[in-house]
Subunit: 351 residues, 2 copies
DNA sequence: CTCAAAATGAGTTGCGTACCTCAAAACGCC
DNA sequence: GGCGTTTTGAGGTACGCAACTCATTTTGAG
């Protein structure tokens, strides 16, 4: 009836006895310290395996004494999504200090490869772990690899550098996110045929490019009645996005759907709400965008926006910390837990 | 540039000095032990506040010695959703044993109030925390309250007993889940008018009843062109669900949408796939159901199912453990982290 | 076989807290 | 003021591990 999921609590002493060596030797093996014969190492490792021994986290943490230092390297501009991540880190402060973890925010221009790389290099040696919103660029990749070589744990956050040797990526699969947006626009348009507009920050940004790729994939294969118009590059700025989109809406009377890939949501919404349009008796344009912010929340409730694709910023913040901590402790990572999901948020499941 | 989120590491000794008392007195205050004058208690509490002191989790954990025992009281039947929860708990076994946490599974008939209550009462005193998939019934409520009074931490899992004094509920808002299902069916039907079928396990189950309530709310207010047919009670059984639904589909040629509230998904899908129907040249029925399992995953990929409302079972399992642990340690709960979201899962964002 | 180098054993200290004991001091009551 | 009671102080031990020292044993090269 009662089925236990955990094993008895062994200690290092038990392992030492099992392996027929002293505590000191087990300690050497456990921490990869030199001066142990390969054969002895094997014996100790086997004893650890055989008993599926887990060092007591609390004891290990207590014994090492020094606190751990983590750095979060984030964009300096006023980006609501990044501000949310910071806010959620702030909410964890009690959790962090109870574990003697120091988390520092480092603001930098993440869009300038050399500036970002310099910021990363500056952290070398001082930190146990670094989370970075990374630009995918050779210079940045090199800086990340340098950090890793220096023994610092590195996770990329939101935006990945797959070619680097970062230990982990905390963020969503942006191609799948684009596909999801495509499926939503297609389905919510509801059988009408017509054109679909796409507004992005820049196609040079890896995440935006990937989202557009996924979006087009789905539109082409599953919704032949909808044709996707060339991407508007709004640079994530409200004014520019509004102007570009307004012009496009004026030119094409049969736009039935809209995918806003990045920020600039305010401008996009404004262009859609334009009086001239509604007076022309047009159908509502299906509007799918990204992220749940105060603005998109309002737009969803008002019905201006139909769905938001979201990556939970709180989850990302906590996952980054947990992954860095697990890496530093040498604990396994709970992949399922740290995986960031693509959330579809509509009015009725607003978090 | 670098902004730290945590404070200096104080110890109990520092607090004792600050408050002008001895370590022993601080300890007494911290653990609500008797024998301290109210005035002294206040002085100590103030010193703790003033320095926002946090006991070192690792040290506390190490010092208390004994392992903690948690029990998960779950339905005994072969329910895939519950099996997933168990599986995810199994995946945590390393994490658990590194923290000297013992988690035991207790299978019982959660649909029989007196049996469930007896199972709960039997746990009294032996466990630090209990997570229970609870039936909302006065007898169960009393059993939960008894556990709480005995000092055991109790969280309800998946299904809540709001009137009890359980410390926390780990699960979704089922009314909102039903609303979300309604919005999805309504939107995905795409402007067609017709009838909508609803299949539930039983309207006597609190979560099913709440989902249906939310579903009807949205259908009535937002989709006047769709009329909801009386609920079919399939008792979460495949065969029964299939028969009931097949009969309904035969009677109403204009069914355009279907909401499956609980399990029995296999049967529902079979009824929809019936040859007789497809040969009649009917439109596809929009099918929205719950939970991502091997089956619903396949149905989504095949296009039989259009969307699944999901509560992440892995998240629920981990959240339950974390909440119990935080409660036992007297740590604050990260509400944002432990909140279970209503996930909308379509083919392209299948996890 | 010899001897230096490598491997190992034995032991210590300290991390911050929980939990306990015992003695001393402060207190309130008559 | 004396008494018993309550409150407080002082101190110790234990938890499991990291990190270190130093002595001792084993090993392999010459």
């Amino acid at each position: 009836m009662a089925d236990t999921l955990t094993t008895a609590a062994l200690t290092l002493k038990d392992i030492a006895r099992e392996a027929g060596v002293s505590l000191a030797t087990v300690d050497r093996v456990l921490h990869n310290r030199p001066g142990v014969r390969p054969d002895t190492v094997r014996r100790v490792r086997e004893a650890i395996e055989r008993n599926s021994f887990q060092p007591h986290v609390a004891a290990a943490e207590l014994a090492r004494g020094r606190a751990r230092r983590f750095a979060f390297v984030m964009p300096s501009g006023p980006n609501p999504f990044m501000q949310q991540i910071e806010a959620y880190l702030g909410e964890m402060s009690g959790w962090l200090s109870a574990r003697r973890l120091n988390v520092e925010m480092v603001a930098t221009d993440v869009f300038d490869a050399s500036v970002l790389a310099a910021s990363l290099e500056a952290l070398s040696g001082d930190y146990d772990g670094v989370a970075v919103v990374a630009l995918d660029h050779p210079t940045v990749r090199a800086a990340i690899n340098d950090l890793v070589d220096a023994g610092t744990r590195v996770v990329t956050l939101v935006s990945d550098v797959p070619s680097s040797r970062r230990h982990h990526y905390v963020g969503i699969d942006n191609i799948a996110a684009g596909r999801t947006a495509g499926a939503l626009v297609g389905r919510l348009v509801g059988g009408r045929s017509g054109k679909v507009a796409v507004v992005a920050g820049s196609q040079g940004l890896r995440d935006h490019a990937e989202r557009i790729f996924g979006f087009n994939q789905v539109m082409a294969s599953e919704f032949p009645d909808l044709s996707v118009l060339p991407v508007l590059e709004g640079r994530d700025e409200d004014e520019r996005s509004e102007q570009l989109l307004a012009r496009l809406l004026g030119r094409h009377a049969d736009i039935v759907g809209l995918y806003n890939v990045g920020a600039g949501t305010q401008g996009v919404a404004q262009a859609l709400n334009n009086k001239a349009l509604s007076e022309a008796g047009r159908d509502k344009v299906v509007f799918v965008g990204h992220d749940v912010t105060a603005l998109t929340r309002r737009l969803l409730l008002q019905g201006v926006m139909d769905a938001a694709i979201s990556q939970n910023p709180g989850h990302e913040a906590r996952a980054a910390v947990r992954v860095l901590l697990a890496l530093a402790r040498g604990e396994p990572i709970l992949r399922e837990q740290e995986k960031i999901r693509i959330d579809i948020v509509m009015r009725d499941n607003l978090p």
